[in-house]
Amino acid sequence: MSDRELLPTATGRRTAAAVGELLRPRRLLAFSAFGVLTAATGVGLLTAPLLGHIVDLVDEGSTDFTVPVVLLVVVALARGAGNAWGLALVSRLGESMLASLRERFIERALSQPLERVELAGSGDLTSRVTNDVAVIAKSVREALPELGRSALTIVLTLGGLALLDWRFLLAALLAAPIQLYTVRWYVRRAIPLYAHQRVRDGAQQQQLLDTVGGARTVRAFRLTDEHVERVRGRSQTVVDVTMRAVRLMTRFFSRLNLAEFVGLSAILVAGFVLVGNGTATIGTATAAALYFHSLFNPINAALALVDDAQSAAASLARLVGVADLPTEREPEQAGVPVDASVKAAAVSHAYVTGHDVLRDVDLDIAPEERVALVGASGAGKTTLAKLIAGIHRPTSGSLALGGVALDDLGHAGTRRTVALISQEVHVFAGTLAEDLRLAKPDATDEELRAALAKVGALPWVDALPDGLSTMVGEGAHRLTVTQSQQLALVRLVLADPPIAILDEATAEAGSAGAKVLEKAAAKALEGRTGLVVAHRLTQAAAADRIVVLDAGKVVETGTHDDLVAANGRYAALWAAWSDQRTR
């Protein structure tokens, strides 16, 4: 969804700094990984001189090669063992860094204001936490060890070359300008291309989530072909963009081959000249050529990592971008609510600038009062509920809970003071107990059962195959809407805030379930200030006071009897409601 406002992506510099921050606490691990790999690579470099030594022995007419050959075997074993150990250390380093990063990512992602996430589409978040994490994991697993090994080999080999004869080193370095130029050429083109590719990946993810998540609806409305085409379009775009990246990458490698040719020729010519004028032996020229030839693989590997690195950096920037988002601001001195009252003064709100859905709303709720909020569908009830719960910030006007303005209460304080249970049910995947403990992490099984009993959910929970340990949520035991909504009320009881807002928490279940839920809701609201949004007017009639919202404005307020007598909006709603029920 290119027209969505995606979540931020970090700059290259910030990404690098973030990696530094992750590295710092793991310095020791990093040093030991580096040390072990250096040792292993250094040992491996003994292969070429040992082979050169064998050539020299042949040249001298000797026939005893036992010592160098045994040494070659020892070198091979030591190199293998050292590499295995070093690689394991490097993986541990990289993987634990990645784990920290993704955990911080989720932490920040979940603490973002809801609007921000919704603007971007949840596919943006999920694609970051799935695809991008996978890309980085792959680099960490494959590229990082390779990079360490290759870079070390290159440095150490060039050192070896210098020891043989500095003029060989000079010849070898002729390749370097070409390599440097090529890398620069490549990086300039690759960065934007990879960033673009990630955006396309995100769009594909979004589409797949939309389609797979709504599979049942797609089938019912026979939209299969259309949705398959949507997926095809997104997927094909991903293929196309990837192929563009591949073409760029292969051009990059072709240019690197040129560098190899230039360097190798230079070394051969140097050998020719140096052996010709007697300043080097054939053995030395051989060793130099072998050295340089043995550099092909590591140099290519290291430069190829430039490619992986580009790809990983694009993903990393997307993780860091979210991980760096500010958490919601906490006030210096968080206010403490003095009671459980709610006060909204001149509150207005617009989701889309210029399109107000709430206008100058004033609302006062006394502690432990039960207020019903009613009005036509689309009047702004849910919006008001969300503003009071601190989930959205009003465009203008002020809100206070227990006499403390929401801003002074802070994020954490607001969460402790008010809970919002909406008509949207989501049962979290996992066991039932795990789901409930999201509301109160340290709750004992006994507390869970007590909360379940309070809203009347215990009987059916006990009847589940594994009771509290039953796997629920998508892909597991499917709860009915009534049950799911009861769970939401159980979570409310467990979270135990002084103020609770129920936004049609009883509506989804149909009237049969609604009655069960109404009873449960009344139980769950005991001892709390309650704002209840309800289309089921029996619930409104039972409230202490009713507030009627119409087109974003409070148009009436009073008790049921007052409002019915006043013959206004509420009376009309009540008439329609009771008309159907008194025939």
Binding site: L119, T130, G213, V275
Partner: protein, 558 residues
């Protein structure tokens, strides 16, 4: 035949065989060229460096240039072909997965989080595709091996034989070392998939989390999963590192043996010093192909594990059996259920007459959703039959059936796009449907009317607005039989009353089943049946039932 991991992998490869053949051929040219480089180095040392001939030096440098040119170009196009093959195979699998999930017979989503399914369609499909990237390189590596063997044979028969005969056991050993990797990597991938599934689940429940301030607890939960996944990954990484180390050691020893034999041959004069250099260079070059084999092995292991997961979705048993029939063209729309037993339905007999507007009241919500599952063919009843116009459901193709019987579930999702896009889907008379569902009112309050984009799953609409748009979509489809479940739970009483009247109007003459407990809707039906204990308990008109049946009154009128 049901797909298996093996067949998925085979199809992914054989579907791209032309590209793969091209990649393998060009890749072989590349590896052959790479193998020739040390040979040429040996020749330069023999014919130029040790003789001092400038002509020979120039000649061989030109040859070197040609070889480099060839190997460079061949690599370029080999890699492109291989990558294309990989991407196309992954794309193909993605499409097959999407089609399977959306298959009219259903069944693929059972037991899987949408996030996990999406992960299979992206990550796993990709890993299977990657097999196509690595296979040509395996072939090419083999060719490189062959070229060096031939060069070695030309230098000396014993040396050549040594390499030729020594390689297979070496390959076998690397395979043996790679074996345990497969298991580890499969566990690791599972954990990773689980972790990203949990992440996706938390993200989609974000609103609920925010409502009760459970963000911190959710983060703690994700952290545990992430740490689990980390532990599995580290175990796999250690296995990988051991594998790589073992291969390095094996190749090093192999080179030592080649050097030993070569040195003896050079010492007794059967090869020159230059040839010894070439032989050692070739042995060193052999590291390349061997590393390629190790890499290929690792990728294949991952590819196999992923192919298994892809296959498990593709081979998921369908939720319903499918016939091949289609409902007749001018379908009268008579539904009859005979002895249907499914979930909380117990030998339910129910007839819906053509053109009838029937209300079904299910005091037990589970019974309602089980009835809907059966009518919409999300599930086959354990016993009994459902018939449309006298034809058993099981004889009909579910896709065709849904053209005649549309079941609009209560929690039906809206899709990405504008309000109108969502209603138009199969729509005939869209305007009328918008009016009948009072969705025209919705459009009037939105900034851009019917062209306003609805956010993911319609979340930028209010609950009642979303419900009305979903109802408009169902009405616009105008099917011969429409089954609607609680379409007005989030709508105010006045609007609901309006919808009830319009609904009767727009469905005039076509069969409609309203599964609901809303008295406003039930009041406009021709007949109401009450499900009791999974079977029909009472029936009559709404007015009769209200009058005569206290159970009904308490279920509906409160």
């Amino acid at each position: 035949m049901l797909p298996t991991g093996r067949s998925i992998l085979r199809d992914a490869v054989s579907g791209q065989r032309r590209l793969l053949a091209r990649a393998a051929f060009l890749g072989s040219v590349h590896q052959g060229g790479e193998a020739l480089v040390p040979v040429i180095v040996g020749l330069v040392i023999d014919q130029a460096v040790s003789t001092g001939s400038v002509g020979a030096l120039l000649r061989w440098i030109v040859v070197l240039a040609v070889v480099f040119g060839a190997l460079s170009m061949s690599y370029r196009f080999a890699a492109r072909a291989a990558e294309r093959a990989s991407e196309q195979a992954a794309h193909g699998l993605r499409m097959r997965l999407a089609q399977r999930v959306l298959d009219p017979r259903g069944g693929a989503e059972a037991g899987r989080l949408p996030g996990a399914l999406v992960n299979i369609a992206t990550g796993d499909a990709k890993r299977v595709g990657v097999v196509n990237t690595v296979l040509p390189f395996a072939v090419a590596g083999f060719v490189g091996l062959l070229v060096s063997a031939v060069s070695l044979l030309r230098i000396s028969v014993p040396l050549g034989l040594l390499v030729l005969l020594g390689t297979p056991p070496l390959l076998w050993l690397t395979h043996l070392v790679g074996k345990p990797l497969e298991r580890r990597s499969s566990v690791e991938q599972e954990r990773a998939a689980h972790a990203s599934g949990v992440a996706a689940d938390l993200v989609s429940g974000l609103r609920v989390l925010k409502g009760i301030g459970a963000e911190a607890a959710a983060v703690a939960r994700y952290r545990r999963t992430s740490q689990d996944s980390l532990a599995a990954t580290l175990r796999a990484a250690r296995a990988h590192a051991g594998h790589d180390g073992a291969i390095l050691a094996l190749t090093g020893i192999f080179i030592a043996v080649v050097a030993l034999v070569g040195a003896h041959l050079a010492a007794n004069g059967s090869i020159t010093v230059g040839e010894l250099v070439a032989a050692v260079g070739l042995a060193q070059f052999l590291l390349g192909p061997f590393q390629i084999f190790a890499w290929v092995n690792g990728q294949l292991a991952q590819g196999r594990a992923s192919a298994e997961r892809v296959a498990s979705v593709l081979a998921a048993p369908p939720a319903v059996t499918s016939g091949s029939g289609a409902p007749s063209g001018n379908c009268p729309g008579r539904l009859s259920l005979r002895g249907v037993t499914h979930g909380s339905l117990d030998s339910l007999d129910l007839d819906v007459e053509p053109g009838e507007l029937l209300g079904v009241v299910a005091p037990d919500p589970a019974a309602a959703s089980h009835l809907l599952d059966c009518l919409g063919r999300e599930a086959d009843p354990a016993a009994g039959t459902v018939e449309l116009d006298g034809v058993a459901y099981t004889e009909l193709d579910p896709h065709e059936l849904r053209g005649a019987v549309l079941v609009a579930a209560h929690d039906a999702d809206l899709f990405d796009g504008s309000l109108l896009d969502n209603v138009v889907t199969a729509g005939r008379d869209v305007d009328r449907a918008l009016t009948a569902s009072a969705a025209d009112e919705v459009a009037r309050t939105l900034p851009e009317g019917v062209h306003t984009l609805v956010a993911e799953r319609g979340r930028s609409l209010s609950g009642g607005q979303r419900q009305r748009v979903a109802l408009a979509r169902a009405l616009a489809a105008d099917p011969p039989v429409l089954v609607v479940h609680d379409p007005t739970t989030a709508v105010d009483a006045v609007t609901e009353a309006r919808i009830a009247g319009e609904l009767r109007e727009i469905r005039q003459g076509r069969t409609t089943v309203l599964v609901t407990t809303s008295p406003a809707l039930l009041a406009v039906t021709d007949r109401v049946v009450v499900l009791d204990g999974g079977a029909v308990g009472a029936q009559g008109t709404h007015a009769e039932l209200v009058h005569a049946n206290p159970g009904y009154r308490s279920a509906v009128l409160s």
